[in-house]
């Protein structure tokens, strides 16, 4: 048994999906970095919404609309509190991290010019690369890459050398989805601010494991997807400092984001509405709040501590398999293990594991530049959540051994 203050067996009962079978085997769900599972406590909030107060929000005088609006705004406040955000209107509801990042990247179009530089880390998700490439194409700014080393850590010395008064923006994920590396974002933010650059931290992978204090971090933008932290699909947030959000132009046009519309001229609404055009994912936002409640009730310290135990145990056990190589061996990691077995394609391992009921992700994990760096087609990625167990790690290890025997 691993040490933890959490009662994992009781927690697992909150997730009915964990009791299902796959190909006749009990499901072992180790694809949490792609999407985490959703507890009954959150699903019940969704059902309750549709059964009791489903209505379009804002400006409605009737009770249902009022109840939905209040619940949605309470969710915004829960998010504000969770991330220690200064003002609730600095929380912009989006459809997820990808949407959040694109909102910022599009908004910066008029702020950049030829000669400006944009720094992006070598271990980004495509969602945190492509929008900046598009931005640089539009503006003539140059995209520069903060390199990483073989352990999958950013080379901070090189980062500091890349910084100059030309640097206008720095983008980096808090945690790499492909490697699990926790990046030194405090240092990244501080360095960027010294040269007057703004920083966006992609928190998609971090938020399920690390409770960040965004005011203390002094970060300019931070992005989160609910579906990676026990919440529903189709909702996330962009945190932005008020001053930045006031400066950025609106992203999408539509209802709610305007103060006054005539065919001649339109004036935009105040924050957060300026960036929340159209009917949002109302139910999703409310359920996101419930997901934070759920995780906070377990406690992020307890979650992180237990996940770290799983990580250490799994790393040790997997490394006992000959020919197995782990990509991403940073000192500071979340519970993600990317690996390959020499001479075996990750897809083959994933397929055999699936037959054994074990769900892992295989491929480039939307991070091709990392694969290019290691000169591999992809990896097998097992990612652990607080509801996973030591026994499941053992099954993974046995499964990998069996796959290896079949495939080699």
């Amino acid at each position: 048994m691993l040490e933890t203050s959490l009662d994992i067996q009781t927690i697992r009962k909150d997730f009915p999906i964990l009791a299902r079978t796959v190909h006749g085997q009990p499901l072992v769900y180790l694809d949490n970095a792609a999407t985490s599972q959703t507890p009954n406590q959150v699903v019940n909030v969704i059902v309750d919404y549709y059964h009791r107060y489903n209505a379009n929000i804002h400006r409605g005088v009737h009770t249902l609309s009022q109840e939905a609006t209040d619940a949605y705004e309470v969710a915004r406040q829960k998010i504000q509190k969770h991330f220690n955000i200064g003002k609730s209107h600095e929380v912009i509801f989006t459809s997820g991290t990808t949407h959040s990042i694109n909102l910022v990247a599009t908004g910066f179009t008029s702020f950049l010019k030829k000669g400006d530089e944009v720094l992006v880390s070598a271990m980004e998700h495509h969602s945190n690369i492509v929008p900046w490439q598009m931005l640089c194409e539009r503006t003539g700014a140059t995209l520069k890459v903060i390199p990483m080393n073989m352990e999958g850590e950013l080379v901070m010395e090189k980062y500091h050398n890349l910084l100059s008064e030309k640097t206008k923006l720095v983008f980096c994920n808090h945690v790499s989805n492909a490697l699990g590396t926790v990046n030194p974002i405090e240092e990244i933010i501080e360095g960027a601010h010294k040269v007057g650059a703004a920083v966006l931290i992609d928190g998609a992978q971090a938020a399920a494991h690390i409770k960040s204090d965004l005011q203390a971090l002094d970060v300019d933008f931070y992005t989160v997807s609910a579906h990676k932290m026990c919440g529903p699909t189709g909702v996330g947030i962009l945190y932005g400092k008020e001053a930045w959000l006031n400066k950025l132009p609106p992203y999408q046009g539509g209802g709610e984001m305007i103060a006054e519309v005539t065919f001649e001229k339109t004036t935009y609404a105040d924050l957060p509405h300026k960036f929340e055009a159209g009917t949002p994912n109302i139910c999703g936002g409310i359920a996101f709040g419930a997901a934070l409640d759920y995780m906070n009730q377990l406690g992020f310290d307890a979650i992180a501590q237990y996940e770290d135990e799983l990580l250490q145990y799994a790393t040790e056990r997997l490394l006992s398999i000959e020919g197995l190589k782990i990509y991403g061996t940073a000192k500071h990691k979340t519970s993600v293990i990317s690996f390959n077995i020499e001479g075996v394609h990750p897809y083959d391992i994933g397929t055999i594991l699936d037959k054994l009921g074990i769900a892992v992700r295989t491929g480039h994990h939307c991070a091709q530049p990392i694969m290019d760096f290691y000169k591999i087609p992809g990896t097998v990625r097992a990612s652990f959540s607080f509801y996973n167990t030591k026994e499941e790690v053992d099954k993974l290890v046995e499964g990998v051994k069996r796959a290896k025997n079949m495939l080699l």
């Binding site: 929000i57 804002h58 400006r59 409605g60 005088v61 009770t63 009022q66 609006t69 209040d70 705004e73």
Partner: protein, 140 residues
């Protein structure tokens, strides 16, 4: 009368009603008797944001007391602001700043107290208090 006394008086008046209809009818009455704002003060500056109906509030000093006048294009909104003005007008800025607003709840308008409410009751209270703060500084 001080703000506390007036609020208690209002609560007493409303406690005579059995149902919401009577309460709303009374509120509409109050709205109709609201000391109207002069047309020249119905400016965008005096418009309170966040209401579905338009609400203008004007404030001016009378000695060391603050006098509010207001108007709205919706009669229920006018009734609500009439109640607020009755409680807060002709009072010292500091007293307005310090006043609590629990009486709103007690007269059965609790549902209007949500900050997201389209009638903007919360915005109105905030605006009255903002005026008080501004004139308080002026008085010093």
């Amino acid at each position: 009368m001080n703000i506390q006394d007036i609020q208690e008086e209002i609560v007493d008046e409303f406690s005579m009603f059995d149902d919401w209809m009577q309460r709303y009818e009374y509120m509409i009455e109050l709205g109709k008797s609201l000391p109207l704002i002069e047309e020249q003060y119905k400016t965008d500056d005096n418009l309170i944001k966040g209401c579905q109906s338009k609400v203008w509030v004007h404030a001016e000093l009378d000695g060391d007391k603050l006098v509010f006048t207001a108007d709205s294009d919706a009669i229920i909104t006018k009734g609500i602001i009439a109640i607020l003005i009755r409680a807060f007008s002709n009072q010292k800025p500091q007293d307005i700043i310090d006043a609590n607003t629990d009486f709103i709840d007690e007269i059965g308008l609790k549902e209007h107290l949500s900050p997201t409410r389209a009638n903007g009751l919360v915005s109105m209270i905030k605006q009255l208090k903002l005026y008080a703060v501004a004139y308080q500084t002026q008085l010093k």
